[in-house]
């Protein structure tokens, strides 16, 4: 009984930790986005929000934004489908947020004789689960575009759906090669495989085994996030997007979904191609460098190092995505579709075939 209760408590704590981690990162990603864009553009970025006059380089900005969003008028257009209109952002948010469940943050933690997986749920089909959830998120977009009962939002929604579905194909196909290399759909297994060494010194990370797959996945994932340069569904600056009719917290949810997608993409990139929580040459008892020599570490330190490595990698990809968003101009719609169908899909097929050939050899 107590065992079950403890088990539930552990899972609950894991859920809370993962969500807090996700949401906090989301919040600060908004700040990061502002700051990074400012640095790129020789500006200062948000630095005004303060608490009792303390305004540590604008770190309170996300809170200010949140408060603002909460207190803004939640306007529902009189001509809209009210229920669906209200539901849409939550659908979007939910399906993105839930993907975090399958992401491994670290190796198993041993406290006494209890082992705790640093992963909410260790699915055996984790990868499929993530792909499924990501593709379900499109409902939020489509529903919001349609429920607003506005031509422009509908167009935005349709574009979003078309784009996401198109890239879903490339995304999925790009991962086939990976699954062929690491013969598992279980994310924790994939990460573990990546702990092995290639030629005795190179970590067996996805990037090294599947460079083409990585490229396709990166592009496809960027497109999935619907951010610049693939922001055709929203196109804040000129095209009117699917959430035009939203305001206040509901609009905030869309915004958060956006950033959460960035994080999810980053975690996926980390997990699938950059070894997840793996630190090169770090085994569960310490470092074993390929040139000989060992650095033995206590278990807690190893776990902390792994979690930190995971975070650093995720963080890097977040940074990279923001950099991309502030560097490149938007594609034209036909170019987006061309890129997806005419380049990425064939390339991923080539990747699968190539991987197969290499593996059989």
């Amino acid at each position: 009984m107590t065992e079950t209760l403890t088990e539930m408590l552990v899972i609950f704590i894991k859920i809370v930790c993962a969500l807090v981690w996700l949401l906090a990162l989301t919040l600060y990603l908004t700040w990061l986005e502002r700051k990074e864009s400012a640095l790129i553009q020789d500006r200062l970025g948000a630095n005004r929000a303060s608490i009792f006059g303390i305004r540590i380089i604008g770190l309170f900005q996300p809170f200010a934004d949140a408060i603002k969003m909460i207190f803004k008028e939640d306007f529902v257009p009189p001509f809209s489908r009210k229920f669906l209109h209200t539901m849409a952002p939550f659908i979007s948010f939910f399906f993105v947020a839930i993907t975090i469940a399958a992401i491994p943050f670290g190796d198993t933690l041993r406290i006494g004789n209890r082992t705790i997986n640093l992963q909410i749920l260790d699915f055996n089909v984790g990868l499929l689960f993530i792909l499924a959830m990501l593709s379900l998120g499109i409902y939020g977009i489509i529903i919001s575009g349609w429920a607003s009962n506005n031509k422009y939002t509908l167009i935005g929604g349709l574009r979003g759906a078309a784009q996401v579905i198109s890239y879903e194909v490339a995304l999925g196909l790009s991962l086939i090669g990976l699954i062929m290399v690491y013969p598992s759909l279980r994310l924790s297994s994939i990460v573990l495989y990546q702990g092995e060494l290639l030629f005795g010194f190179l970590p067996k990370w996805g990037i090294f085994l599947q460079p083409l797959g990585f490229g396709i996945f990166l592009f496809a994932a960027l497109a999935e996030t619907k951010r610049v340069p693939f922001d055709l569904p929203e196109g804040e600056s000129e095209i009117i997007g699917f959430f035009t009719e939203y305001s206040g917290l509901k609009w905030g949810l869309f915004m958060m979904t956006d950033f959460m997608e960035v994080i999810i993409v980053s975690t996926l990139l980390t997990t699938l191609f950059f070894g997840g929580w793996q630190v090169p040459w770090l085994a569960s008892d310490g470092f074993h460098f390929p040139w000989g020599g060992e650095l033995l570490l206590p278990h807690v330190v190893v776990i902390l190092l792994q979690v930190a490595a995971f975070n650093i990698k995720v963080f890097f990809f977040c940074w990279l995505q923001i950099l991309i968003r502030w560097t490149y101009p938007r594609f034209r719609y036909d170019q987006v579709m061309d890129l997806g169908w005419k380049l990425l899909v064939p390339l991923s097929l080539v990747n699968i075939i190539g991987t197969g050939i290499i593996m059989t050899i």
């Binding site: 020789d42 500006r43 950099l323």
Partner: protein, 157 residues
């Protein structure tokens, strides 16, 4: 294919440029946070309410009416500013001054700043140099339109 590769290289280069900006600016920001003064700054931003950009000498800011040595307005209510104003935001009503050397003075001089487009024509047109836009005051935003209607007292004071 080579062309596409060229594009690809350019795309990468673009990313590198933004990255360079990011890194360099970050470096200077960090230096600043550490209190090390450098010639170059990490940003071009002016922190407006605390930091103010120096207003150019020709900048057209809030109007003011000049006065004679005895404090009377220098304006003689010739209404040339009214005539020249493209947004019709000036209203002048003249009255008789007992001093025969002055004769005419503005009993009312109203500028509706809500309509003013700050073209400065009134200053150009004024034959008495009675109106100027050199106060340097650019912060006169108000919560109501009524508060933007400036009368003689406000313009002199």
């Amino acid at each position: 294919m080579i062309k596409a590769l060229g594009y690809f290289i350019e795309i990468i280069r673009g990313g590198l440029i933004t990255t360079r900006h990011f890194v360099v600016n970050l470096f200077y920001h960090i230096l600043k946070v550490l209190g090390i003064k450098t010639k170059r700054k990490g940003s071009v931003t002016i922190q407006y309410p605390e930091q103010k950009k120096e207003i150019a000498s020709r900048h057209r800011s809030l109007h003011r009416l000049m006065t004679r040595p005895d404090g009377k307005p220098r304006c003689v209510a010739c209404m040339l500013c009214v005539t020249v104003c493209p947004s019709e935001c000036i209203y002048v009503e003249a009255a008789e001054d007992p001093d025969p050397e002055i004769q005419k003075y503005p009993a009312k001089f109203i500028i509706d700043l809500g309509r003013c487009c700050f073209c400065g024509f009134c200053v150009e047109a004024c034959p008495e140099d009675a109106i100027r836009m050199d106060t340097g005051n650019v912060e006169f935003a108000q919560y109501s339109q009524q508060d933007l209607i400036y009368d003689l007292d406000k313009l002199i004071g």
